[in-house]
């Protein structure tokens, strides 16, 4: 199976601070790759560079063999990378359904004039988009059923908002799904449920790159794991390999802590 995403020596600095330094890794088709690392190790910056928010200082980002480095975020999204956010960024005053429909923006094309005239082509597209959005929402059984779809997103519970962000990201059927701490702030029961759903996404054929701090979740879903510290990749491999790597233990516990732990 080929690589969906390939980072080649990507570096990104802000002022004098090197947030990500010469980072290379690849995400294989239909796998779940997790990035772990202490706070400030450059994980979210990596996500932001991949989604086009920042242009990398050097290196390249290939999506299915084609460079997406330097493209605008909306262009990156159109090429097939969609994401969720560590701190929720739903469109709070829009309805649940509209949030998902916004996620399909690059997959629909109705122009202003055609939409105002309600041409048959537009009606067909709207109906198809709505059906697709409902299909995506149905992947979270019982969470977004019926009348709840016309509730504003801000009125949802925290866990449901996290779910809705995933649904919004899935609406465009991305080649690569970036999940930034999908279970942050959830209780153990909710985390387990989301974990199952992430696994189900893999079985549906999605390729997922995930940042997560909850090691239970990382262990439970990841095919492979990458560990980062101070912008540098310090380990890569299976969860067991990475979790026992002495550099990783050191990054989390400090040198002395690592000493007593081993």
């Amino acid at each position: 199976m080929g690589n969906v995403l390939e980072l080649q020596g990507m570096s990104m600095s802000f002022g004098g601070l090197k947030a990500v330094d010469n980072l290379s890794f690849s995400v294989r088709e239909n796998e779940i790759l997790s990035i772990i690392g202490p706070n400030g190790s450059g994980k979210t910056t990596t996500f932001n560079v991949i989604s086009g928010l920042y242009e990398p200082d050097s290196g390249d980002i290939l999506l299915q063999g084609e460079s997406v480095a330097g493209l605008r975020p909306d262009q990156v999204h159109e090429r097939g990378i969609s994401r969720t956010f560590q701190s929720l960024r739903l469109f709070g005053n829009m309805t649940v359904l509209d949030n998902v429909l916004v996620g399909m923006h690059t997959r629909t094309k109705a122009g202003v004039v055609a939409a105002m005239l309600r041409l048959p082509s537009v009606r067909r597209e709207e109906a198809a988009a709505k059906a697709k959005a409902q299909e995506v929402l149905a992947m979270f059984p019982g969470r977004f059923s019926g009348p709840r779809q016309s509730d504003p997103a801000f009125s949802l519970s925290y866990a449901n908002r996290r779910r809705l962000e995933i649904a919004r990201a899935l609406a465009s059927e991305p080649a690569l799904l970036l999940l930034d701490e999908p279970v942050a702030g959830m209780n153990p029961m909710e985390s387990r449920e989301v974990m199952e759903q992430i696994k189900e996404l893999r079985s549906r054929g999605y390729t997922i790159l995930m940042i997560e701090h909850d090691m239970k979740v990382v262990e439970g879903v990841s095919d492979r794991v990458i560990a980062m510290d101070h912008g540098v990749k310090i380990a890569e491999g299976s969860y067991q390999e990475v979790a026992t790597n002495h550099l990783v233990v050191e990054a989390y516990l400090g040198k002395r802590g690592a000493g007593t732990a081993s």
């Binding site: 605008r72 909306d74 956010f85 469109f91 709070g92 829009m94 916004v102 996620g103 094309k109």
Partner: protein, 406 residues
């Protein structure tokens, strides 16, 4: 005030209000997306009026032409008075605002004021400093009778056209793909971008729609009043901006509500005789008293926690209320002292300011001497209303605090 007078004044107020609304929508939409006040928007409105008048002159429109030709020319003027301001709005956004996006807030603001001055000067350079006038047409002076009042057909046309445009705008924003993109951009531009929305294009489109609406506003004004001056955009722009703030800036239905409140207040304010106004003031005072002294305390009483109702707190509130003379009346009429105690100090202060406003208004009215308020007071009334409403509802009539982006 007789019925026909009420009908005349109400329709007059609605007409002016609708025109304010068409301009206010542009302010509020741009603010919604960029959190920036486009001070050049008033000039875009003026350009719409000038383009309409110029087109009609260029076509040589007069009552000697056939009805079809007149309607055709008016439609052409309508299209051009939308298209030219729309193009202008697009250009201004591209040249004067986009390069400054992401800088400190004061920069686009200064740029907007600069653009406003440049546009005014350009209008003078192209059309001269004298007001541009409309060719006289029969339709301008035609009128119908409604409940005994003579109403200009144009007023009804303005109200109808505005309602249709606003319905169209609502549909555009609520239901279409680009409308969803606009709403998403206004709530979280970065997230919208990462969900595939080309935000620059969406912002440009917002300017196009707002400017086209203002342009139609210009056309309607010049048809209604017959002439337009190069600096008309200043006062209309300011009023429309006021309306947008009044309704809750960034809120589309709010801009319409704010504009109608402003238009009706202005028109009623200058056309009521004192006897009627006195009733109006008394009614307002009674309503205010009822809300502040009966409804609000009841509601507050349910929320107030026991630890806050210490004797000291109660005494301080009671002291504030002793300053308000009507308190005595109130205590005589209804013995519900516990409700009174729970009124907060802020409420009391607002109440007193409200009464101060009423006293000042009454004084101004009597000092004015005549039985009617001079039309020169119109802008004053408008801004006093704005201040009073914002005192009680700081985020506007329909404005609400947007949930935090957490």
């Amino acid at each position: 005030m007789s019925l026909d007078h009420i009908v005349t004044v109400t329709i007059g107020g609605l007409t002016v209000g609708m025109i304010y609304a068409l301009v206010a929508l542009g302010y509020t939409m741009v603010y919604g997306v960029l959190e920036f006040i486009n001070f050049a928007h008033g000039e875009v409105f003026t350009v719409g009026g000038y383009v309409a008048a110029f087109t009609l002159f260029a076509l040589g429109v007069s009552d000697q032409m056939s009805t079809v030709a007149i309607i055709g020319s008016l439609l052409l003027a309508l299209v051009l008075s939308m298209a030219v301001p729309a193009a202008l709005g697009l250009l201004v956004e591209r040249v004067a605002y986009r390069p400054l996006r992401g800088r400190s807030r004061i920069m686009p603001l200064l740029s907007a004021i600069g653009v406003s001055i440049v546009l005014q000067q350009l209008i003078i350079i192209v059309f001269g400093p004298t007001p541009i006038t409309m060719p006289t047409l029969g339709i301008s002076s035609a009128s119908v009778s409604i409940l005994g009042a003579r109403i200009r057909v144009l007023a009804l046309v303005i109200i109808t056209v505005s309602v249709v445009l606003m319905a169209g705008l609502t549909y555009l924003v609520k239901a279409t793909r680009i409308g969803k993109a606009m709403r998403a951009t206004s709530q979280d531009m970065e997230a919208a971008e990462m969900m595939g929305i080309e935000t620059n294009q969406t912002i440009a489109f917002t300017f196009v729609v707002g400017s086209a609406l203002a342009g139609i506003g210009g056309l309607l004004v010049i048809m209604y009043y017959g002439s337009l001056k190069f600096d008309a955009g200043f006062l209309y722009g300011l009023k429309a901006f006021t309306a947008a703030v009044l309704g809750g800036i960034g809120n589309i239905p709010g801009a319409v509500v704010g504009a109608l409140v402003l238009g009706l207040t202005e028109t009623y304010g200058v056309s009521m005789d004192l006897g009627f106004l006195a009733w109006f003031v008394v009614a307002g005072l009674l309503m205010g008293l009822y809300v502040q002294l009966v409804l609000a305390p009841k509601k507050r009483l349910q929320h107030i926690s026991d630890d806050r109702r210490t004797p000291g707190y109660e005494r301080s509130i009671a002291n504030i209320y002793r300053l308000a003379p009507y308190l005595a009346v109130r205590t005589l009429v209804v013995e519900r002292t516990d409700a009174l105690r729970s009124v907060s100090a802020r409420h009391a202060v607002r109440l007193m300011l409200g009464n101060l406003f009423l006293v000042v208004t009454a004084a101004v009215l009597f000092a004015n001497g005549s039985s009617r308020i001079d039309t020169r007071w119109q802008p004053v009334i408008a801004f006093v209303v704005l201040m009073v409403i914002l005192m009680f509802r700081p985020s506007g009539i329909l404005g609400k605090h947007i949930t935090e982006k957490v």
